[in-house]
């Protein structure tokens, strides 16, 4: 046992999780895969942008940079809280973990509210999904990202629940949740740069 192939077989095929690395491994598969998938969306976006730079630049001007910047700050702060929660989990400080995750979740919820507000503003000004190619990408990409944020809030809920139940897996869980949330943050930063800032 324990050649590299054995470990691969164990984790990938038999789903064994005695190894702490294995538990993270599954989440890393998810994170890396998700980044690749999102990467593909970005590539498609860039290809389309390359073909119609004027249209994209013009439509981009209608976006609300203020709300987006706020959202970026919100997510980055929540990621910092989550990182501190991991540290607290490793120290066995359950109360701190609960507090930090709840706060991060609160910021996540704030992101959702801000994002929906931003959408409502765009739609009320007449920019909707079928308005033009740029807005098509804008709504679809930020929409999928928003789904990821909602899933992240769900994950936080599960983590909090497990901690309250005194689960033995709490450190792994918090770490997995943190990995996921950082991924959500990274994707947002990329989205922010590509959709809002890139000229």
């Amino acid at each position: 046992m324990n050649t590299l192939w054995d470990r691969f077989e164990g984790v990938m095929v038999r789903g064994e999780e005695d190894d702490r690395i294995a538990g993270d491994f599954n989440m890393w598969v998810f994170v890396l895969g998700d980044l690749v998938i999102f990467g593909a969306y970005f590539v498609v976006f860039m290809v389309h942008r390359f073909h119609e730079p004027e249209l994209f630049r013009a439509s981009q001007g209608h976006l609300n940079l203020l709300i987006a910047t706020l959202n970026t700050i919100v997510l980055l702060t929540s990621s910092q809280l989550v990182a501190r929660a991991v540290h607290a989990a490793r120290q066995g400080d359950d109360a701190a973990v609960r507090r930090l995750i709840t706060q991060a979740g609160g910021l996540g919820a704030l992101f959702v509210v801000l994002k929906v507000t931003e959408w409502v503003i765009e739609i009320s000004r007449g920019y909707t999904l079928p308005s033009d190619e740029f807005f098509m990408f804008y709504f679809c990409l930020t929409g999928v990202h928003l789904l990821h944020v909602l899933l992240g809030l769900l994950i936080f809920g599960v983590v909090l629940h497990e901690i309250r139940q005194g689960s033995g897996r709490r450190v792994t869980l918090v770490e997995a949740g943190a990995t996921y949330w950082h991924m959500v943050d990274v994707i947002w930063v990329l989205l922010f740069a590509v959709l809002y800032l890139l000229r």
């Binding site: 984790v11 990938m12 095929v13 038999r14 789903g15 064994e16 999780e17 491994f25 599954n26 989440m27 598969v29 998810f30 895969g33 998700d34 998938i37 593909a40 969306y41 498609v44 389309h48 999904l129 079928p130 190619e133 098509m136 990408f137 679809c140 929409g143 999928v144 789904l147 899933l151």
Partner: protein, 250 residues
């Protein structure tokens, strides 16, 4: 007799049964599943050419030409599907059975079966039936052909909820399962599938571009990911069959 609750012992704890011996019924179902999906690929791609789809922005004349030029392939392919579609039930039943081996409630298995039962009809057969109707008569009105064309692709690519629910219950079951029937990363791949269903929603709006029913994102990325999920599921199903302790026949 031991407790008749739904918890089964984890396979790893039982005696080593890394074999397909004594599990002939499961083996048969697995092979039928493999053959079914293989046939599915052959039917939908080279034979009927429903995949990859032509676009919603084709003209009436082009659509008429598409059907008339492909009549034989469509008829042979989909008539075979009329029989082969039973394989979808076998595939669903096999995975659902394996879900009953998990430490989680059978409610997930019931949901798995029923959501796929829904999906088989509007999400697969309806498209095939629309195509068959389109080529049944040689003189069908071109506008009617466009209608059937829309019916086929919108239902095939646009059946979202049945599959989204299916992936969701599967993912939750796998994540909660302490018996490790399937590895957790399969649950995450299933969650990606839900995302692809969401990104297929725009097909009802766009006639061209990456979010149309033949689009890079709504169709291609979704289908490629589905291929990965399906391949993994089938492979891991076999592993689960091998690891399953042989139940003594009374």
């Amino acid at each position: 007799m031991s407790a008749t609750t739904e918890t089964r012992p984890a396979p790893a704890a039982a005696t080593s049964t890394d074999t397909l011996e004594g599990k002939r019924d499961l083996s048969i179902c697995w092979w039928i599943t493999v053959v079914f999906y293989g046939l599915f690929g052959v039917i939908f791609v080279p034979l009927t050419r429903l995949m990859p789809p032509p676009g919603p922005d084709m003209s009436t004349a082009q659509i008429t030409e598409y059907f008339q030029g492909n009549r034989t392939g469509i008829q042979i392919g989909f008539v075979v599907l009329m029989v082969a579609i039973g394989g979808a039930a076998i595939a669903a039943g096999l995975i659902a059975y394996q879900m009953t081996l998990m430490s989680v409630s059978k409610i997930y298995a019931y949901s798995y079966i029923t959501t796929l039962a829904v999906g088989a009809l509007p999400g697969c057969l309806l498209g095939a039936l629309a195509f068959l109707a389109a080529v049944f008569r040689a003189d069908t009105d071109p506008e009617v052909l466009v209608l059937l064309y829309d019916v086929a692709f919108l239902t095939f690519v646009g059946s979202l909820g049945c599959f989204a629910t299916n992936y969701l219950v599967f993912a939750v079951a796998v994540l909660q399962d302490r018996n490790g029937i399937f590895p957790r990363w399969l649950a995450y791949v299933a969650i990606w599938q839900i995302v692809t269903e969401v990104l297929a929603a725009p097909v009802f709006v766009f006639r061209s571009g990456p979010f149309a029913w033949n689009g890079v994102i709504s169709f291609w990325e979704g289908t490629i990911l589905f291929g990965i999920f399906l391949g993994a599921l089938i492979r891991l199903s076999r592993t689960a069959i091998r690891r399953q302790p042989i139940e003594a026949v009374a």
